[in-house]
Symmetry: C2
Subunit: 217 residues, 2 copies
Amino acid sequence: MSNAVDIRRLEAVSEEPVSRQERKQRTRQALLDTALDLLADRPFATLSLREVAKGAGIVPTAFYRHFASMEELGVALVEEATRTLRGMMRSARTDPDTYQGMISASVATVHQFVRAHEDHFRFLTRERYGGGPLARSIAVELRMFSGDLAIDLARFAPLRAWSTEDLHMLADLIVSAMITTTVELLEARPGEDTKITGTAEKRLRLILLGIPHWKSA
Amino acid sequence: MSNAVDIRRLEAVSEEPVSRQERKQRTRQALLDTALDLLADRPFATLSLREVAKGAGIVPTAFYRHFASMEELGVALVEEATRTLRGMMRSARTDPDTYQGMISASVATVHQFVRAHEDHFRFLTRERYGGGPLARSIAVELRMFSGDLAIDLARFAPLRAWSTEDLHMLADLIVSAMITTTVELLEARPGEDTKITGTAEKRLRLILLGIPHWKSA
DNA sequence: GATTACAGTGAACGACTGTACACTGAATAG
DNA sequence: CTATTCAGTGTACAGTCGTTCACTGTAATC
């Protein structure tokens, strides 16, 4: 659980001199980590400044040395999580080999990233639809994600003739299918992963099957 | 805004004698309506018992005459909202005419129901991924919804040979596309509706285009 | 070596939270 | 007509909340 803090506190043991900047940055990260921990089973709006501060091992008033408000902490969290998201996008960009190869590679990438950064993805999927100010900035980020995907898709031979509008429609459809998969993975009990990724691949295959027969009207 | 209460309070004007049961049921409904109002821009977990009670025109302690806790109020809200959802499902069940007719009719039904019950759909989409105990019961309800859709789909000629597993995969895909559309409608600025429903129809068309060429794996 | 900058401290505040308890008054039951 | 039921009242209490303010001790600067 929230033991990240205690580990961090051990830095006194290692003999390397820690600059003030480094110390500050570590506390800041401890705040972010604590918040992410607490977010495992609650929406962001229910976090209190005091409990985040306590979890990070500082007194409530010291919180303000790092963020002007909880909302600002939330924005930083969105940035951290979307960095992971962009990393995933970068990993998934692969040479258009076969349809099937591309599908299973993409699903595998999503699977791997979700499992390696569960808290980031949980945060993003939770707060995306949660209302509040974070939802808006996450929506912007997801739109960029979808836009990038549309650009990638445009390079595929069967899609070269598609209008940008249709490409965005397709990209949105793929993204929302992937979000569904992400949520399923986050809610899965152990051992259900292969079933979920299998269904995810089927969904993508079905979508891509329609592409050759598409007429925009 | 939250004037539902005041309207309700006018019942004293109408001369019909109101039984005690009726009065109680009205207050209960006022609590639900107030909560739904407050949920317009905040997650459920941030609602306080006191403000819901105040909005319904009763003192905080009287809240307990109707619900044992806010969570129980939330469960009642899920029931109310899913009643709307089932109503939509019933309306959308139409004779399998043409593909295109079925698609535009379904999208039109979703559009109409979302606009007529924005607060219910906002509540469902927000809390579905919001964590907490409500998310689970909403997930159960959505799975039933998806299951019903799978059964309906099985009646279509091109889908008669499909395995139940594949039918569920297809139903889930359609449901998540529809949820995306719902969220888009709820976030839309006035005038964007036709663009959104247009895209929604395209998404469904693309999905259905793949069906004739499907081979299970 | 003296001075400054600043991350973290600790007490105090007013506002708000859920809930316990004893109550009132009117619709209902006998 | 009397007794009971029960939705709603009002007070009170112990917690938690965000934020204020004056402070301390040490790393960084001159």
